[in-house]
Amino acid sequence: MPHDHHDHLSPSGHPYRPDDDHPLTYWQQMEIAVRELLIEKGVTTAADINTQIDAMDARNPSHGAAVVARAWTDPAFRCALRKDASAATREMGFDIGPMRLIALENTTDQHNIVVCTLCSCYPRNLLGLPPDWYKSRAYRSRTVKEPRKVLAEFGVTLPESTTVRVHDSTADMRYVVIPARPEGTEGWSADDLAKLVTRDSMIGTGLPKSPDAK
């Protein structure tokens, strides 16, 4: 924490928030101006903006992990998820807003992996904001052409007999991968199973953790 000095206080006498005491950039200047204008014009309020930030901060991969673990342990839910993943996810109590979600199930026969080649569409309303690599030129360019090489960079090697299905998130749908349930987890509770489900396993660039690693 380079800015964590007790003598480094703002004019109000409070410490600066981390990253608030760097020189103002042009784009930050624009953000402040746009935000103030939107509030003055009645488009939004400061409270609404804070609420939206809190809502986005609250979304994280553990929400998706809970959905996956329930799909592993509740056949009726798995069925509902396959039919309408948005409705099934909302029914579990997750506020995914207007997002239209499709769940892609991995089996021994097929492995799903999600990319957005045109921008960086991601099921953010369930999993939170995407990792930086998901938005990178390398991931967006290569995944549709050489998914197995991309997977290998993430440490995932699949047999030829497993079909890799790449999903290019080009339009209105968002995707969450339901990885295959790890062997050796018979009788586990959904809560314990959820701890094995990683973010990358729900994008398709990873596999769930092994039960030994719990």
Binding site: P23, E31, I32, A33, L118, Y139, R142
Partner: protein, 115 residues
Amino acid sequence: MTEDNTFDGRRWHDMGGTAAGPIPTDQHDFSLWEKRVDALMIIASSKGHFTVDGLRRVLEDMGEDAFETMTYYERWIASVNQNLIEAGVYTTAELAQRMTEVAARGATYGEAASA
């Protein structure tokens, strides 16, 4: 990308299948101003002032140079602003004056953000 320099109509953001290096592994957390940009986009679009396709259209038209030299949320605020001006939510003159006022408040984000 074509081998020669003849433009075939493929735009820079349309990256699927082009050659690229290893997937980068570095990761950073978002700062407050970036989260605010994200929130402004969600709020302004949910109120019907523009759409996610409007956001993307401006990002695409900003070109490859912007993709390489600006951060993700720097590009987003530029696009959000462009869309809001096009939608008539405020004028360029209003933005211009406000940005000047903002800069006059102080040299850091923390100072400038406290009206």
